[in-house]
């Protein structure tokens, strides 16, 4: 079970990112819990400056723009 945080103020791209994570995880058969983090304080604490940001199990892997689906697989499987 992996915990994925999506950091973003609720913009359209953040929603899409959350959906992508769920899709990729479902296809790979990985159990994930996707959490939306929308408050600025938590974003700052995680070191996110451009949104959407993604962290997997507490480790920041991406910030700014939609993630690449191929890379998303990599983050979820390692």
């Amino acid at each position: 079970m992996k915990t994925v945080n999506i950091y973003g103020p609720g913009c359209a791209r953040c929603e899409t990112t959350g959906k992508m994570v769920k899709e990729v995880a479902a296809r790979l058969g990985i159990e994930v819990e996707v959490l939306k983090v929308t408050d600025a304080k938590s974003m700052a604490m995680a070191g996110v400056m451009s949104t959407p940001g993604i962290s997997v199990d507490g480790k920041l892997v991406h910030a700014g723009g939609l993630p690449d689906a191929g890379k998303l697989e990599g983050w979820l499987t390692t």
Partner: protein, 352 residues
């Protein structure tokens, strides 16, 4: 272990050579179409049952010429900017600014504000990220002022619609205001007016992301994505702005414009700023109005002041910044930037 490759949607599978071929082809096509806009707009105008030199005829011609022109220019500028900006990121900018002596920080922050891709929706995490990395508050403000004020969209449209001289003046003065306003704000020692939680925040280690390796095609894709996103969002502002510009161009008498926005009326500069600050549109919407105002003889300083205050200071951005700045600091911020804009307006009206 092998990971099966995943193709989310067919359009993403566009082969690289198609990008290398398609982008130059699109550029040439845009250029050729651009050259045909005047005959096209005259032809469209002639279809209307009004005299070409009547008020309505003038307004229609302005509208049908400007709409395709602005949209074409916008597409080209946003694409090129998107590609160029793919070499920059807020993380890199922060690393550069955090290591600089303060005095060089201000102009550098203004410059990076223009080059770094960021949307106003992430200005709060960006603000905190900067301040917590030890970048002085004033330098952070220079960055945040320059970004929207001297954006490439505004500059490019100004260049296309009004001419390179005014675009250059705007660039120089927008850059100067961002640098000087940041410097002044930095000298005022305003840290105590940050929201309490921001001051107490001991931001942990900076998120250390491995730098993404992008190929040229990746960068072209970013440009195309930006076009889809930005042009898709601002076209309605463009239409409204050109509509207002067309009305001014066709119907407002020059004598009246000279009275209200001419160089003689000193009070017109503060009024232009006072009207511009609460107005919210983006550069793409306001520049067709600027074009029409200047065409009717409005003074350059007054018009520039209006344009700068519309673009640089906006209510939605202030509401976003309210999360990190106390009301008092927001008021000081607006006052300092508006002061710089006023000075610019007066200066141009005086020397031209």
């Amino acid at each position: 272990m092998t990971i099966e490759t995943y193709d989310p949607a067919p359009p993403r599978g566009t082969p690289d050579w198609l990008w290398y071929l398609g982008v130059p082809t699109a550029a040439v096509a845009l250029y050729l179409v651009y050259g045909q806009l005047i005959p096209f707009s005259e032809w469209v105008t002639s279809l209307f049952p009004v005299a070409r030199d009547s008020h309505t005829g003038e307004a229609i011609a302005f509208f049908v010429y400007d709409v395709p022109k602005v949209l074409l220019l916008l597409t080209g500028i946003v694409f090129v900017t998107g590609v160029l900006r793919s070499w920059f990121s807020p993380e890199k900018t922060r690393a550069i600014l955090a290591g600089k002596r303060e005095i060089w920080g201000y102009p550098l922050a203004s410059l990076l504000g223009v080059l770094t891709p960021f949307c106003s929706c992430s200005s709060v995490p960006l603000f905190i990220g900067f301040v917590s990395a030890g970048i002085p508050l004033g330098v952070t403000f220079s960055f945040l002022i320059a970004g929207p004020m001297v954006g490439p969209v505004g500059l490019g449209l100004l260049y296309g619609l009004v001419g390179w001289q005014i675009a250059t003046l705007y660039l120089v003065f927008g850059f100067t205001i961002a640098t000087v306003a940041g410097f002044v704000l930095g000298r005022m020692g305003l840290e105590r007016h940050l929201q309490d939680w921001v001051r107490e925040l001991n931001a942990g280690p900076v998120g250390d992301l491995p730098e993404e390796q992008l190929t040229l095609v990746d960068r072209l894709k970013i440009g195309a994505e930006q076009v889809r996103e930005i042009v898709g969002k601002v076209w309605i502002w463009v239409l409204v702005g050109i509509g207002i510009g067309a009305a001014i161009h066709g119907y407002v008498p020059e004598a009246m414009m000279l009275q209200i926005m001419g160089g003689e009326a000193w009070w017109s500069v503060p009024v232009a700023v006072a009207v511009g600050v609460p107005m919210y549109t983006n550069a793409a919407g306001v520049i067709p109005i600027v074009e029409a105002l200047l065409g009717k003889g409005a003074a350059l300083g007054t018009t520039l002041a209006f344009m700068m205050s519309v673009i640089a200071l906006s209510l939605p951005e202030m509401i976003i910044l309210k999360q990190v700045l106390k009301l008092r600091l927001i008021a000081i911020f607006i006052a300092v930037v508006a002061g710089g804009i006023l000075a610019t307006g007066f200066l141009f009206n005086a020397i031209l």
